[in-house]
């Protein structure tokens, strides 16, 4: 090959690079090892993290994944394919995304969905940027003042952080309305009038603490005041709960969330995918890829990326976002998951999770010194008060082999004695009893 090139050595191929730039500082990296050794090393580390039953949710859930999901999703034809820019060579991925768009709009009762973004947190960031673009009538567009986004009630604090960090350089400010009994303080929200009227309001349902928010009141107030509604939802819950497209009289304007519950392992929180849906009228404000159905030269149906003129590779500095990823492989898994479980299966998963969580709450609050922190309806997750700093309790329970919920003091100082707990359909009666016994042992010796 060097002869064909006419170069004396491989080094000569780098002769345009000044010698002083070539590094001699690579020694900090070890010699390579073979595959077997690498797997052995990694397996030793993975074993250290094997834990007992998981009762933590908070945006990432230990659901059963049907065996077929990853057997198919991990096929090289899906896993090692590139972004489907060459449509004729990517009909598999493209049709699958079209099916995904249909399923996720069905779940959310929204009109359109993109092909996904990175995760739930960044999906909320994109939703906020989109709302600011879409709400052209908002006075802040004329005054040049800060674009305020109200955060109604208890939204996932990591989502709020990620969204703040993604949007802060564009004059956008997230304003929490505060909570009453763990839910939105409606008076505080509806008191945002005049100059303080937000561009959009974010509502998570069920909220971060597992509680049911008054989404109809929020959506109707927003709609009457020219404020866009951004819904953050758990897709599993949508098998049972009223979907964002049906909130209030007019529905939410944008719905987003994390797709992890749909057939994706927890895997330390990623990769999963963020879904992002909206009304037909706002489709051109959506960032990211979209797949459309069309026909080929012979009038046969086919699928292709569409509305690409919104995207960075064409619009550059005027693109809707810099994003050029959809989490294709995870969308592949979620699509196969939804096809296999169907609406009936998903509603069984959802109701079973809720039933397991109620059982869990019953068991844990039977332990001396433990009580439910918030009254009122909750779904799938719940806050329990353990009567002493919850971070130490969680660590002690972990020593007994239980991933026992999320200590909340880090996010809400007045909930420092509280754990956010969750049980999925995978948690057996024996698992729940084990958690109860562990908590009993930790709290009462």
């Amino acid at each position: 090959m060097l002869t064909s090139i006419g170069a004396p050595s491989i080094d000569a191929l780098f002769d345009e690079i000044e010698p002083a730039l070539k590094t001699s500082h690579f020694d900090g990296i070890d010699e390579g090892v073979d595959e077997m050794t690498m797997i052995q090393e990694m397996a030793e580390r993975a074993r250290r993290d094997e834990a007992g039953p998981c009762f933590t949710g908070a945006g990432c859930y230990d659901h059963h994944i049907p065996a077929a999901v990853w057997d198919i999703a991990a096929r090289g034809e899906f896993m090692t394919a590139y972004t489907p820019y060459q449509a004729e060579a990517s009909q598999g991925t493209l049709q699958l995304i079209y099916e995904y768009q249909t399923m996720i709009t069905g779940l959310t009762a929204m009109d359109v969905s993109n092909a996904s973004v990175y995760d739930g947190g960044s999906a909320l960031g994109e939703a906020v940027l989109m709302a600011v673009r879409a709400n052209r009538a908002h006075p802040s567009n004329k005054t040049g003042g800060p674009r305020r986004i109200a955060v109604a009630g208890a939204c996932h604090p990591h989502y709020v952080d990620a969204t703040t960090n993604i949007t802060r350089n564009q004059g956008i400010e997230l304003v929490p309305t505060g909570t009453t009994d763990g839910r939105v303080d409606l008076d505080a929200l509806t008191g945002m009038t005049g100059d303080r009227m937000p561009v959009a309001v974010i509502v998570q349902q069920p909220n971060f603490l597992g509680l049911i928010e008054p989404v109809d009141e929020i959506a109707d107030w927003a709609s009457a005041n020219g404020v866009l509604v951004i819904a953050v939802v758990n897709p599993t819950s949508l098998a049972l709960l009223r979907p964002p497209g049906e909130w209030g009289a007019n529905g939410a304007d944008i719905a987003c969330g994390d797709g992890q519950p749909l057939g994706i392992p927890m895997a330390s929180g990623g990769p999963s995918f963020g879904f992002l849906c909206t009304r037909s009228s706002l489709v051109r404000q959506l960032p990211g890829r979209l797949v459309g159905r069309t026909v080929d030269r012979h009038d046969q149906p086919g699928f292709t990326l569409t509305l690409q003129a919104r995207e960075q590779h064409i619009r550059r500095g005027k693109a809707r976002s810099n994003i050029c990823t959809n989490q294709g492989l995870l969308v592949t898994a979620a699509t196969i998951y939804l096809a296999i479980v169907g609406a009936t299966g998903l509603s069984r998963v959802a109701s079973r999770c809720h039933e397991r969580t109620r059982k869990l709450v019953g068991t844990l609050t039977g332990v001396n010194g433990v009580r439910s922190h918030f009254a009122g309806p909750y779904f799938h997750e719940h806050v329990i008060d353990v009567g002493q700093p919850a971070d130490r309790v969680a660590d002690a329970v972990a020593e007994l082999g239980i991933v026992g919920g999320l200590p909340l003091g880090r996010y809400f100082p007045d909930l420092r004695n509280c754990l956010l707990v969750c049980a999925t359909e995978k948690r057996t009666d024996a698992d729940i009893a084990r958690f109860g016994d562990a908590l009993q042992q930790v709290l009462n010796g």
């Binding site: 052209r136 051109r284 509305l307 690409q308 003129a309 919104r310 064409i314 005027k318």
Partner: protein, 140 residues
Amino acid sequence: MNDVSSDMRPDIPDDYRYAPSHEWARVEDDQVTVGISDFAQQSLGDVVYVELPQVGDEVNAGAEACVVESVKAAADVYAPVSGTVVAVNEALEEAPEMVNQDPYGDGWFFKVEPTDLEEMDDLLDADGYEQHCESEADED
């Protein structure tokens, strides 16, 4: 320009004025109607969407007023004159292909109540614009 066949030669009607960025402007009843030229629609290819301004928007001569999209490109459309948008061609929302089919007629974009009608004199006439198009084509 030599290898452009005669049927592709852009139509440049005499009774319009043109901006070097390929918009046309025409005065009717003291309002200025704006669209993109035949040369522009040919370069863009099939137009799939026009992001129109809103009635009441202020536009400035030479500044972005709206965006026209084909499948593979998005082009800013600059206002040829300054003023207030008084009408937009809502029919383009359903039928963006009119920009390709009838760029000087049904494919118009918006109408402006101009602040200074004399700005029309800064635009090119048909001859000037034709020369401008030829010089741009030669650069390719």
